[in-house]
């Protein structure tokens, strides 16, 4: 089957690419566009390392076909910081030491930003359930949850 021609928006920029019909958004990001910040931990939507935001909705890049990106707006981990200013989630993850091997970190950054965009005042339980689709094997989640709660407070303009 011929490659698909897709026009989409990634991290605010117009992007045009060709992909195989069975290539996922994650395959396209990593192997076609060279955006390797999104990771493949499972390829089955269970680990969240490929989390991207599609038209405002948190999604797994591995569960969406590249062809489905047509006409959509996709945000990846490479597009979370604004210029040289890190997003509060990124800053708080650094300050809390909420990363060890950091393979899951891009997915958590994207998923946590999506949470705070939607709910800037989550309870700890809400944050834990929202992030339950992102596996981390290193941290036990403690510092990640603290970082996300502090980042939410930053976004609300409160001192954490």
């Amino acid at each position: 089957m011929a490659k698909q021609h897709v026009n989409t928006t990634i991290n605010g920029d117009p992007v045009e690419f060709l992909c195989e019909p069975d290539q996922t958004v994650l395959d396209v990001l990593r192997d076609v566009l060279g955006l390797t910040g999104s990771k493949e931990g499972c390829g089955t939507g269970d680990c969240g390392a490929c989390s991207v935001i599609v038209d405002g909705r948190l999604s797994c890049g591995c569960l969406m076909l590249g062809a489905e990106a047509e006409g959509r707006e996709i945000t990846t981990v490479e597009g979370i910081a604004e210029g040289d200013k890190l997003h509060p989630v990124q800053q708080r993850i650094l300050e809390e030491g909420a990363l060890q091997c950091a393979f899951c970190t891009p997915g958590f950054v994207v998923a946590a930003k999506a949470l705070i965009d939607q709910n800037p005042d989550p309870t700890e339980t809400e944050a834990r359930y929202w992030l339950a689709g992102n596996l981390c094997r290193c941290t036990g989640y403690d510092k990640i949850i603290r970082a996300v709660m502090n980042a939410a407070a930053d976004v609300r303009g409160e001192a954490a």
Binding site: E40, G41, C101, F103, A132, R137, T139
Partner: protein, 754 residues
């Protein structure tokens, strides 16, 4: 130099790690993130059978598929023999070769048989289907106790149990028997008023690193190769590849990618030699990645275990004797961590009479790999469960019982060492004093405690530091950073130089750019590589003092180094690091410091955990309500990353205790090779994990570091099981304590009570 705790300026603080920004922005390059021009994609064909003889492999159809550039099988590998030093343990090269690509038999579901390199991943996958493999399916055995029986299916006809005199004349699946201990256990048990004896079992569990194995390899026509891969040690990858493939070490340059978790599972090779073989055949770079299913079926896991533990004590609470038999499943080739289980499991106790027997047993599962404190969690689960039951039988507080019998300075450990300064009693005291331990519990809630021990190791490390012309410092070391070790290295160097940590930039060099370093494992990096970095920094400080003496025209003996500058009595103004660096060209050239060491004196880690659970009697589900981990770190260089190690170890241990297990079909196929069905803890499964870092300094390290990474996974299995018992009165002697298993146990308990 000596460093006084109260005067440390950098060590013990919590700076942002130097590699942090790249890791929150997606810039950091992990194993699968590297690509090369002209690169091919490699894929591996794996056995669908748990045990079969390969009667033939026909690759002709696959080779004929357009886009396929190379096919390799076990027949392409040279015969290997001998063993390679992998830092923590020796690796048998003949077995490793057969694990990388099966030679004559497949020994587990997922065993690699052949590999293909093609111009696209899609073509490579298509080509796998065109390889025709003939199998003569053989009976298989998965369970360790079954595998030890005389009539069990045999994995290796030529395996005769080591450690038995005389060596048996018939082959078996028992690779090795070992016995350690001292005293007279029969006499000890005769003196006991209470004896508890239990048999416990655990399932195989995977390390569960989120990053699948991945590499890119390229080999030139002159035989020089480069491998990019994520691993726990670029040097062990180089050495294993070169030895398996008959290459010289200097011809294999391994460039360490960032590593997305290892926990012991990335201390050996799977894809790397295959990618090199494919590159050699195709004259092109080859990239290989594993799927999650391949990771589960063909890498890791750690051993399932079957364990008998017997402990006796007098009425006043003194243990009189302890004995155990540990039977560990090694998977397809020998090498379970049963030896460490024998050595570590009773180490928290001061024993007069102890006898421990271990069996290393092959079964038709993937060859086990190291997993965080290998062997100790299983053994501690058995020992700490029996200790809990014994304390209850004696009507003693379980922490008091552990403290009364606790290992301390001067205690002879079951493996023969006599402990120097250790923090076991300090951990137990902190447990007893912790508000968690004194808090109240509600209905169906229970509390468990358990202790743990891990040796920690030192080993070989090399480090160099270079003073840059502007006075900044580059630290070069050779251990992949899995948990923030770059930060610790930079901090220790900054402390020695007396400069801000941001002035020190660490990097992890490839195998051609620094001397050998043992793997990132054994909780050794902050201790051993940290010691190398400190010594290299001190070496550089000596150079700086000499240069300052030259600039001042004074004797070097009259120069002291303090707060990042050279001082001498006759000059009012000190010479800063930057002052001296700027003049380096005029005072003798670039300033460097070096250290190559085999670090001795690793300080053992002791730890005690408190776990509260609530059991849902309707479903058998166990909720972790509260968890506190108390551990002697010696000295926490960066406390956040020490706490993180403790929290992460707890989470893995909780998963092991409650949910994780390899589930096999009757055909011996793994039925849950994915994160949906192999259930690791997610954020909503856990509470915050409280930590108490005890600091009983290790006298062998300049800052007192012991090593922290492994000990935290040792106690949780028993702490959870003991808490479940406290909640519902059921002793869970088989892991995981999954809802159906617990529900059945609760029902049986109720039925027995009625």
């Amino acid at each position: 130099m000596t460093y006084e705790d109260g005067k440390l300026k950098v060590v013990g603080t919590r700076p942002i790690r130097p590699d942090g920004v790249d890791k929150v922005t997606g810039r950091a390059n992990f194993g699968a993130d590297h690509s090369m021009p002209g690169m091919l994609w490699g894929r591996i064909l794996r056995s669908p059978h748990a045990h079969a003889r390969i009667t033939g492999i026909d690759v002709s159809k696959a080779e004929a598929l357009p886009g396929v550039k190379a096919v390799v099988t076990g027949a392409d590998m040279a015969e290997s023999s001998g063993s390679a030093d992998a830092g923590e343990s020796a690796i048998n090269l003949r077995d490793l070769s057969r694990n990388v690509l099966a030679h004559d038999k497949v020994l587990y579901d997922g065993h690699a048989i052949a590999a293909i390199a093609a111009t696209s991943d899609k073509i490579a996958r298509e080509a796998l289907k065109l390889i025709d493999v003939g199998y003569e399916v053989l009976p298989h055995v998965m369970d360790v106790d079954e595998a030890m029986k005389p009539d069990a299916p045999l994995l290796h006809d030529d395996m005769f149990t080591e450690g038995i005199e005389p060596t048996p004349e018939t082959s078996s699946n028992i690779a090795k028997k070992m016995v350690i201990g001292f005293g007279d256990v029969d006499d000890g048990f005769a003196k006991a008023d209470v004896i508890i004896e239990r048999t416990l079992k655990t399932a195989p569990v995977h390390q569960g690193y989120i990053e699948p194995h991945a590499c890119v390899a390229t080999i030139s026509e002159d035989g020089q190769a480069v491998v990019w891969c994520s691993s726990q040690g670029q040097f062990v990858i180089r050495d294993l590849c070169s030895q398996l493939l008959g290459m010289e070490a200097a011809d294999v340059r391994v460039i360490p990618a960032e590593i997305g978790g290892g926990f012991g599972g990335k201390t050996t090779v799977y894809l790397e030699p295959v990618a090199l073989m494919l590159s050699q055949k195709s004259s092109r770079p080859v990239k290989m990645t594993m799927t999650r299913g391949e990771v589960f079926r063909a890498t890791g896991p750690t051993s399932a275990s079957s364990m008998d533990v017997k402990i006796g004590a007098t009425r006043d609470g003194r243990i009189t004797a302890a004995s155990a038999e540990f039977r560990f499943q090694a998977g397809a080739f020998p090498g379970s961590p049963v030896g460490a289980a024998c050595m570590a499991s009773f180490a928290p106790y001061d024993l007069e009479n102890v006898s421990i027997t271990g069996y290393d047993v092959v079964t038709n599962g993937p060859k086990v790999a190291a997993y965080r404190a290998p062997g100790a969690p299983q053994g501690a689960y058995a020992v700490e469960t029996v200790v809990d039951e014994l304390a209850e039988a004696l009507n003693m507080d379980p922490v008091d019982f552990r403290a009364l019998n606790g290992a301390r300075e001067g205690t002879k450990a079951p493996y023969g060492a006599t402990f120097k300064v250790v923090g076991n009693l300090e951990c137990l005291e902190a447990t007893k004093d912790h508000p968690h331990y004194k808090s109240n519990l509600g209905p169906d809630q229970g509390r468990g405690v358990a202790s743990g021990f891990w040796f920690n190791i030192g080993g070989q490390s090399a480090a160099t530091v270079a003073i840059n012309p502007d006075g900044t410092v580059s630290v070069v070391e050779g251990n992949p950073d899995i948990g923030g070790s770059r930060a610790s290295m930079a901090m220790m160097a900054a402390e020695v130089f007396g400069v801000a940590v941001e002035k020190v930039r660490p990097m992890i060099a490839d195998t051609a750019s620094i001397a050998h370093n043992d793997v990132t494992g054994g909780s050794r990096v902050t201790f051993a590589t940290g010691m190398a970095v400190v010594q290299a920094s001190e070496d550089a400080v000596e150079q700086l003092k000499k240069r300052a003496a030259k600039m001042w025209d004074v004797e070097v003996e009259d120069v002291v180094w303090q707060d990042g500058a050279a001082h001498t009595a006759t000059k009012d103004a000190p010479l800063t690091l930057a002052d001296i660096a700027a003049q380096a060209g005029r005072t003798g050239g670039p300033i460097t410091g070096n250290a190559s060491i085999n670090a001795r004196g690793a300080g053992p880690a002791f730890t005690t955990h408190i776990c509260d659970v609530e059991v849902d009697r309707e479903t058998g589900a166990v909720e972790i309500l509260r968890y506190t981990a108390i551990q002697d770190a010696g000295k926490a260089i960066h406390p956040s990353f020490v706490e993180g190690q403790m929290q992460g170890g707890v989470a893995q241990g909780v998963g092991w205790a409650l949910n994780e297990e390899y589930i096999y079909s009757t055909d011996g196929n793994m039925e849950n090779p994915g994160f949906l069905d192999y259930r690791m803890p997610v954020a909503s499964d856990l509470p915050m994990i409280d930590t108490v870092v005890i600091e009983v300094p290790n006298p062998s390290h300049p800052f007192g570091v012991r090593g922290v990474g492994e000990a935290p996974i040792v106690p949780p299995l028993a702490a959870v099981a003991n808490a479940v018992y406290d909640a519902v009165g059921v002793r869970m002697t088989e892991l995981p304590i999954s809802p159906p298993r617990l529900l059945a146990a609760i029902d049986a308990y109720k039925a027995a009570a009625e």
